[in-house]
Symmetry: C2
Subunit: 734 residues, 2 copies
Amino acid sequence: MGQNLTLIIPVLGALGLVYTFWKTNWVIKQDPGTERMIRISNAIAEGAMAFLKAEYRVLAIFVLVVAVLLGISGSQDLKESSPLIGLSFIVGAFCSGLAGFIGMRVATKANVRTTHAARTSLGKALEIAFAGGSVMGLGVVGLGVLGLSSLFIIYSNMGWDLIKVITVVTGFSFGASSIALFARVGGGIYTKAADVGADLVGKLEAGIPEDHPLNPATIADNVGDNVGDVCGMGADLFESYVGAIVGTMVLGAAFIGVVGYENTNQFGGLNAVLLPMVLAGVGILTSILGTFFVRVKEGGNPQAALNWGVNGSSLIMIAASYFIITWMLPESWQYQDMLSTAPQTMTANGVFFATILGLVAGLAIGFITEYYTGTDKAPVMKIVHQSATGSATNIIAGLATGFMSTMFPVLVLAAAIMGSYYFGGLYGIAIAAVGMLSNTGIQLAVDAYGPISDNSGGIAEMSELPKEVRGRTDKLDAVGNTTAAIGKGFAIGSAALTALAFFASFVEVYNKTHPDSMISSINLLAPDVMGGLFIGSMIPLLFSALAMMAVGEAAMDMIKEVRRQFSDIPALKAALAVMRKNDGKEMEHWSQQDQKTFHDADGTAEYGKCVEISTKAALKRMVLPGLIAVVTPVVVGKFGGAEMLGGLLAGVTVTGVLMAIFQANAGGAWDNAKKMFEAGVEIDGKMYYKGSDPHKAAVVGDTVGDPFKDTSGPSLNILMKLMSVVALVIAPLL
Amino acid sequence: MGQNLTLIIPVLGALGLVYTFWKTNWVIKQDPGTERMIRISNAIAEGAMAFLKAEYRVLAIFVLVVAVLLGISGSQDLKESSPLIGLSFIVGAFCSGLAGFIGMRVATKANVRTTHAARTSLGKALEIAFAGGSVMGLGVVGLGVLGLSSLFIIYSNMGWDLIKVITVVTGFSFGASSIALFARVGGGIYTKAADVGADLVGKLEAGIPEDHPLNPATIADNVGDNVGDVCGMGADLFESYVGAIVGTMVLGAAFIGVVGYENTNQFGGLNAVLLPMVLAGVGILTSILGTFFVRVKEGGNPQAALNWGVNGSSLIMIAASYFIITWMLPESWQYQDMLSTAPQTMTANGVFFATILGLVAGLAIGFITEYYTGTDKAPVMKIVHQSATGSATNIIAGLATGFMSTMFPVLVLAAAIMGSYYFGGLYGIAIAAVGMLSNTGIQLAVDAYGPISDNSGGIAEMSELPKEVRGRTDKLDAVGNTTAAIGKGFAIGSAALTALAFFASFVEVYNKTHPDSMISSINLLAPDVMGGLFIGSMIPLLFSALAMMAVGEAAMDMIKEVRRQFSDIPALKAALAVMRKNDGKEMEHWSQQDQKTFHDADGTAEYGKCVEISTKAALKRMVLPGLIAVVTPVVVGKFGGAEMLGGLLAGVTVTGVLMAIFQANAGGAWDNAKKMFEAGVEIDGKMYYKGSDPHKAAVVGDTVGDPFKDTSGPSLNILMKLMSVVALVIAPLL
């Protein structure tokens, strides 16, 4: 029976992939609309694929070098397994890249088809956009479960002890995290350089909106949405998902050989190791089920439809978890971990509570996120008010909101850590992260739906479709924010818990492989631990600085290129002059001649040049932050020792969480403050709209928040896990 | 001999105070200038004193409540000593307040006298401004050494064991830190609300500079310089100084009873306890000596004069330290601290090296600070360039610079922690902080000289003195930046080391008072320690958020009040209209009538209203951040236990250091980027000056940086020490 269960897991993974192929084909069969729409969407798709190719070419070198290093670096007793760590690393990296690719490919098909559907029907448009998102969601979880369980089954049959099997599997997680970090940083730099550039052009060159076809940066901007928000997010969630599962497996291995544990379960003590994979596999089923709940009729509420899907499948998942956990784990057993002085009673119910605690904590962080960034909520209103006195007070308010917003999530997280430990020991902390992520399939479907509808709006604008089309896509775009906020809560919460699980695993593995110099404690009073803590805490700031500088400088290059095109391309120059002349007038009231001049400029902007700037900047500037993440733990571990490395991991996790929350929420709050002006907002009894001085101040805040929330912020979640998984992988070599 | 030495220390402290009285009288005897100047400076002095009175009234309540709580909270064996902890607390708070008062009183006398001297001579102006600063500097160190050593002598004669004596003395440090935190936060809110308000009025209401007599916020702005930069800084440095000394004393007490230690020194084993006080006392002498080096002739270089004073006395102090340390401590002895498993050899030379290491680390952090914030250096130039594309890119660049600037200081600090431990154990970490601060007297003299010359420039402007006067005061104001940067380096470095010393002391004292539940390790793997670490790390962000919100909102109130005055006061309204009419013209070319209208408005602005807004905001908004700092360790210690409290302290120290560096440097870099535009700067081959678009963008950055560098940033240094000293004080009660 144990063997059968093990074999069922990859089948569930494969099922996710089958869904993916089926939905992709469905999306492709939909009508892409007019010739102009197709041309634009092709330009976006080509730019995105070109970037992905260039990016993967760079990453392939990195992957090969690291794989070889992993393969040859094995100490005596790891000689036979370390080449396989290298192999796992390659497979993990490949799956992560593939997950991004699958998501992006369908996103670049779904966007224009959503636009076309929005010409007639909101429901149909939602269906297509969500189908695109669900391909991404199920692709990620399918690849994760299939890849991980396949490797586990193969390595289990090598005749090794379990700790070796799992150490080798850890390579998979390492590969996934590496690619995810590069994809997030690279994609983030790409999209924000283009976005900030396109935005500022509008302000500086007066009157050209971001998505306007005359804006040479507009294609780069839309490509960016795909490579950053879709592909980057896919790789990101893939690594979270895999990381949480692997972290739990490593800690689950500690139960093997515990007296009374082996005897009471049917898989030779392996259950705690298999449990996270089983939960993830069943999560694929519930996610697929959930996608069928998402339906909306014309005039219906898309938000309600998405909620139905996510909440429905979550509830099923919670119920399923209870049965799975109590079925797979013994009712109770005695276990003594490295923190306790006497054996403690562990129970299946305790593990279930830890899982639920993770879920509750993730939800809570999500709702707090929504409070601090939500339109009409007090924090955003404060930013709106402070915009009345200019951009400086807007910025101060946004930064303060971001700082403030760390308080409750951190309290929730501290409670979750202590609580899940109470219920399930170190294993409980790890499984809490799995609890948050078991529903990743549908959760990510909703997340990825966002950039697809955003993109479809851009295409509507560039194709000069009637206003009601943009209205429908905007309506699609506006919903799903709550789900996205909760997704962020899960991402941050699970990152913290997974990083801690890896941290504990690192010490377990180090002790197993260093019986003569076992670590009983990472003592904060020791100066090397404190030194490591200081250095680790600094890394997220350094990392953010590099990402922000990359965006700032690439955006400047972008602006210079756009200015050059505006002065060098005659047709563009003429169209611009005409636009200024007819400032604010609807186009139908322009003179015939002016309309002609304007339309003649169509397509003369050299979009490719802007795409190239973003591509180059992203590829060049993603390398250093990525290397810092991989190299630092190795250097500190080698020269400072395992305890200092422990300090480093704790530091990077804690500050990483804080900076991730701060940046995500400051960015989100600024964004929504700006959006409130676009809808019109009252300050001290006066109404302000788009174009007013307070709105301009709010645009500054939004621009500052862009690299925060879409480049450095989300990368930090990966950073902390990557650094701790590197420590885990090198633990036997220290 | 031991007894004599102990008695010499307070004499050295008293000597510092004698110097203070002597210099204060000298300053007062100088000519305060014209009647108009006297009127303005009186308005500033009155506003400042009024605020101080109001502030101290609030703080007196706080001090009394805490003192009573301390007095009655003693557990069984502390019954007799705990009222004296309360007493020490009151004395510490009083001395801290007094240090601020002395400094501010002389500053409000020295400013106008410096202005008057600047009408004729740069050298004389420097002499007065520096005399004002040196009163502050010597007042702080004099009070610190006198207060601390007197209490120590008194309590030593109570017949208690040493650990009890020192625990009681710790109350002095607690008192000093509490007042310092409130003074920094309150003063910081006051000054930045006024400054941001006055600044923005200039931008929003077009053409009224900060220091213009028609600007109703101008007096509040100048009062702010005194209550924030002078008084706040005095209380701040007082607490750093006292904290470093007390932290070292506590750890020095551990040497008592060490075999071989008592036998080889002449004060019954007390030397390690007395050493920091002796070093501080001798530092008073070298500081006084240093002040005599500061002289400049007309046409001379004020910077060189200040350097002479600081560097000269530093060198003497280093040499003196060597002789003092090798004289007071045994050549070597065996000691086993709580971190080591076997006794280790400690040496006097090692302790000296640790002291020097502290000094070197402080200097290094200072020079790094100067690099990241210095005019013409690469980071500031990058911000200047990014200002060309608007305020958003200016802000992104400044934030990135601030994040980036944490890297090297943190590496230096980690090395200093590990190195000073290597040389002198935990005691070495503490004495390294004393090494940085032994020269506080002259260091602070130079720091306080800054706001005095800044104020004198403001008075020159408001009194409409000839331009060359402002030129001279600007010249004075421009120098001393390097010294100030190094002062910041010392402040941050010593704060981190002192906080760690308190952290270690906390565990020592806890173990001494809880022999049944001794802590051998604060284990990062334990979930409660990790929870504490998370919560502690979040506190500096929460704290910063509260301070920034206070500044942002008070600045808005200020702006609204100024707008009201501009529309409600007819004379002001008329003068404003006349100013706009003659936009840019020198006043002598205005019509007679216009000149009259303008002068008629003189004094009609209701400065008092603006002073009141700042005062109220500061008093109201300083309470919550202060209470959080004091209450959090108590709550976490009581309900989470000593280990969780340990995690909390580590977290607040690490993130506190990072946030302090980030905020100080981002603020400093923005400030200097703005200043570069005022002098004129070339971007891409084009020159930009004051009033250009890039300059306006740079002003936004400067305004955002204001609360960073002058409100929340410097408060964080105090915060981390205050929280750890609270832990130390409550350790016996947990």
